[in-house]
Symmetry: C2
Subunit: 487 residues, 2 copies
Amino acid sequence: MAKVKITETVLRDGHQSLLATRMRLSQMLPQLEALDAIGYKSLEAWGGATFDSCLRFLDEDPWERLDTLKAHLKTPIQMLLRGQNLLGYYQYPDDVVRAFVKKAAQHGIGVFRIFDALNDTRNLKTAVEAAKEAKAEVEHSVEVQGCLVYTVGGPHTIAEFGKLAKELDAMGVDSICIKDMSGLLKPYDAYELVKELKASTKLPIQLHTHYTSGFGSMAYMKAIEAGVDVIDCALSPFAMDTSQPCTETMVAALEGTEYDTGLDRQAMTPIAKHFLGVKKEIIDEFGLKGYFDVNPNVLDFQIPGGMLSNLVNQLKEMGMADKYQDLLDEMPRVRADLGYPPLVTPSSQIVGTMATFNVMTGERYKMVPDEFKKLARGEFGRTPQPVNPEVLEKCGIKEEDLVTCRPADLLEPGMDKFKAELADKGFPNASEEDVLSYALFPAVAEEFFKKRTVKTLKELGVANPTDEDVLLYNLDAEVAKKFFAAK
Amino acid sequence: MAKVKITETVLRDGHQSLLATRMRLSQMLPQLEALDAIGYKSLEAWGGATFDSCLRFLDEDPWERLDTLKAHLKTPIQMLLRGQNLLGYYQYPDDVVRAFVKKAAQHGIGVFRIFDALNDTRNLKTAVEAAKEAKAEVEHSVEVQGCLVYTVGGPHTIAEFGKLAKELDAMGVDSICIKDMSGLLKPYDAYELVKELKASTKLPIQLHTHYTSGFGSMAYMKAIEAGVDVIDCALSPFAMDTSQPCTETMVAALEGTEYDTGLDRQAMTPIAKHFLGVKKEIIDEFGLKGYFDVNPNVLDFQIPGGMLSNLVNQLKEMGMADKYQDLLDEMPRVRADLGYPPLVTPSSQIVGTMATFNVMTGERYKMVPDEFKKLARGEFGRTPQPVNPEVLEKCGIKEEDLVTCRPADLLEPGMDKFKAELADKGFPNASEEDVLSYALFPAVAEEFFKKRTVKTLKELGVANPTDEDVLLYNLDAEVAKKFFAAK
Ligand SMILES: [Co+2]
Ligand SMILES: [Co+2]
């Protein structure tokens, strides 16, 4: 019997889920060798919100973080990639996607976990192809993992997920991940789903869930009994609540059974102790909560508890607190109108806001936010079922407005444009990595580049670098060095 | 297929585990009718540490609390009773045990869950008999539930638990509870254990666990697959961490399966919302934490994380921080010497302290605390295996010092003595309930009685009652009333 393997998420999803992605590289470094020695299938450590957080909050260059991680780890480093959206919120042109994936592989990514929020495989195509091409270009092994985003309701049956798995298989991925980002996967459904996927493809199946509704470990257990190959877990201080099931717990639960992971739980104790300290540091530094109540209500509305509270507050502010039940009833109707998208960012916000508007105005689709129209038009990709034609009409979307092709086919190449923009902003010598950072998070990246130059200038002895000093250095670092040395 | 039933613990073990047993009756009252309507198998709401906490911290009479609960609930009220120890820390004479159980039944207890920390059934005998007798004395139904305290190591095999179940069955209990107070029960062991118990007895089997090590819901799931009849759960705000698995989660996980509980999850939402507010109130009022990291290390040492930290701090204070690993190694040896007692209060403290002394002094059993000697002598009952004779010798315990009979057989009757003591202290008219409260927690109860009289006197218009006023009222309330009215 094949042993169950574990992907450790403490370096990415663990702190993204519990502590707003605020873990610094310096807080990871002391335990990288120890983590590397455990024998994990992979260490998820990059992508997701870490890229944005590095630039925005932690003053870290995400590419440098990846280099450092790679220098300390033999275990494959996994990144989470949002298909054509990369790590941002909109779709990028194919050349940007290709460049990003290639660079990520060059800097050390060993597992590309690629998903699309609508399960539209056309949105995975370029990223998957680029990751496959990267295999030949880097020395370390590269695994291309396709995701199926788990959701329930409407057309989302276990048989449909089986078909999706076959589609991913046909695209040439190396493995398939069931991505249950909202923690909706019930244990006995997990069993059926894994059985179905195992019947649909010979590829290894990995399961990723969140403990939000409390199913986490139960779903893993039934998935394991159905033959799942890999589960995603987080070490104890970064496990449970809205994060993954606990690594040590799952290892212990399987010890001595036919599913034994073979991992040394005692070796995890000092690592967990370190990260418990890190957790306390982050909670203190950023004033975060770090602990969350189990929230089975997420099953009913499929939107995060925090977002639901916000919508309810909006109602209250409008003096419509009594419409709470109407809002709860309206949300699944809006989702059905949209063709049952999985409710994840940004579709969860779009559905929630639209439902709130419908309830507030008392007339459905009287006020329609632009984002709703984009999703309805097909700008994010194909919704699982066609959008309700009446709703399209109310939104003033005509047949000919619909995007039926792969949305990225409508996009002009972007790398040269982003490079030119950066040059205009005073960074004519930006590296390709910097261009990619800028493409993903323009304002944040620009701010980061300036701060980075200020830091460099201070190291060069410029006590209080001015905007002009920064510009000069970015225009020509060598000239600038001579200039400042001469001053 | 029989539906799985649920015992709800939000009114007892939930807040005992997460919030130091600080929930007030007033915080329960608003949702009692709603809880009653759910269809729980029972509501655990009394016993355990609630009795002590009522008197010590909440200024509530535990008997009055029980009356009020009973007045609002048709669902059987469950209490946790520590066999011959009742709710205290030492064994009580049989007449006290009988009187306590009878009174508890009269005040409304519908399920007596009775356990002994050493699994010595002789310590359950009187309480079980008294609870069986109570069936004929009260109008509501009474269930007598015998516990097997789950532990691992040494002689604690699944076959041995099967034998224990047969012993409990022969004593005439109505059902058997697997009491996994430390959360040690691994899911696949839960499966085997329930199968064994089901083969050993026809009695309903209930499972009680804590999420401490993260096994909780997995253990329930495998126990359910093995045929367990009832599981103990807590509503979401008081679930998980060191408490029970979440009620709503388990209901949702089983929905639509052959194990469906049939309970209405939606009806639980407003109740959970109320108790989330209560949780916040208690955290604020008492400055408590309320949230705990999952702690799989409990599996290795079987003692609560907090206690381990205390022992480690003791080592540090002695300048012996480097002896940490020695301490970890010594604990299982001490437990083996004592014949492998389950590690619960007080045996966990006794083993931990003894191991610390052994490591600190550098010579095993050079310094031996009295409590250790008591346990070794058999004063708490029969240890699962005989105590190591070498250790008995080092402790100066001779063959003839050993307690081999049922320890309570050595105790003189106690009710008259406690009543006389209370009279001496100025409470000659104490009710039997008060005598029992005093028997369990003498100093705390006396203090509570005084405060209670002060409150009554203030209601009678005595602005600042003196000690003498209190004494007068307790000696003769009617005379006192006339006296104060005349003043
Ligand atoms: Co995730
Ligand atoms: Co308990």
